[in-house]
Point group: C2
Chain length 207, copies 2
């Protein structure tokens, strides 16, 4: 419909959108190609004009979702060091995931299931992401953490950020509020920023 889009590219994107939502909720095995097609307003057969198969569609969804996170994390590399660069990074990532709440659940599904795409996901996405984080820690002074602990710290942050979104379905059952609502995300962002200050500056105490 849009004159700027070739039409077929727009359809492809709409397929990716619907597939992302369904794959995130039900996983690869739990999602039927027919259901994706119905959400787009197509027939299952039509999807095969845009993707070679279910597996290829799944990997395309993952690749599209993960790409911005890689770029976002790499952007911190050559950046000028301001005192609250980390707070800004946390806010950026939380804002981005807030706009694409399916993404963390999608990645969690793939990670937990150990799918065929997992090795590539580890190499192209998580490894550089963690490497960037560790490099960032090395650049700054870290009074509380030894260098062997850096990977544990970065991994912990990964779990904290992604966990908020991945756990959202059950957390909205336990609490009354929806963790994906803007005010919840903002509250979580401020909480994580406070935690970051603690981990960077505090006195770990005896022991």
């Amino acid at each position: 419909m849009s004159a700027s889009e070739p039409g077929t590219a727009a359809t492809r994107e709409r397929i990716l959108d619907a597939a992302e939502a369904l794959f995130a909720e039900h996983g690869l095995a739990g999602t039927a190609v027919r259901d994706i097609a119905r959400d787009v307003g197509l027939t299952a057969a039509s999807l095969y004009n845009h993707f070679a198969g279910k597996q290829e569609l799944y990997e395309a969804v993952l690749a599209r979702g993960v790409q911005p996170l890689i770029e976002m994390m790499q952007r911190i590399d050559g950046q000028d060091r301001t005192s609250d660069a980390r707070a800004a990074l946390i806010e950026d990532i939380m804002k981005h995931l807030g706009g694409r709440p399916h993404l963390p659940r999608l990645i969690h599904h793939e990670v937990i299931s150990g799918g065929s795409y997992l090795a590539k996901l580890g190499r192209t996405w998580l490894r550089p992401l963690i490497a960037t984080g560790i490099a960032e820690m090395k650049r700054e002074e870290e009074p509380n953490w030894s260098e062997e602990e850096f990977p544990l710290v970065i991994t912990a942050w990964l779990n904290l950020v992604f966990g908020h979104f991945a756990m959202a379905p059950i957390l909205s059952v336990v609490f009354d509020t929806d963790p994906l609502a803007p005010e919840s995300i903002e509250r979580q962002t401020r909480f994580l920023q406070k935690l970051a200050r603690m981990m960077a500056l505090s006195d770990p105490g005896p022991g």
Copy 2:
């Protein structure tokens, strides 16, 4: 085989074991009843002598896995307050999950997918678990956290502990070590205990 077991009860337990492993890896939809049966050394039809159906088997697996966690968390309630009670709790939970590494992935699958059992899981398991954690924080002095932040702190701990096991498949790709190996679990345990000291005692700094 064992004289102490009625035989049928032992078979039931073996079915639960095999189902737990497969459900944790592939989720509910991704696991075939025939595959569970094959791992036990039975035919699919035989499973129906022990469980009414796939859904009932799945819920039985979840209930059996979650029960020890509830009891473990409740044990802290009436306990005498020693200074390092929290460190001991962290160690207990990490040790328990280390012995049952399927459990976190199993729960993650159910949580992410928002399955039919999720509401019950939230009510019977997560809600009391979080309530116990919040009550524990209220009992002690928390110089760094306001009472509205208590739920965020407890949820963060949930993500830190469970995330370590749930993310294990991809972390073993990124790093060389296996996160489920005893030494990795012990390292993570010490890291979390250190983090707990920080969060309980440190100076959050300005801002």
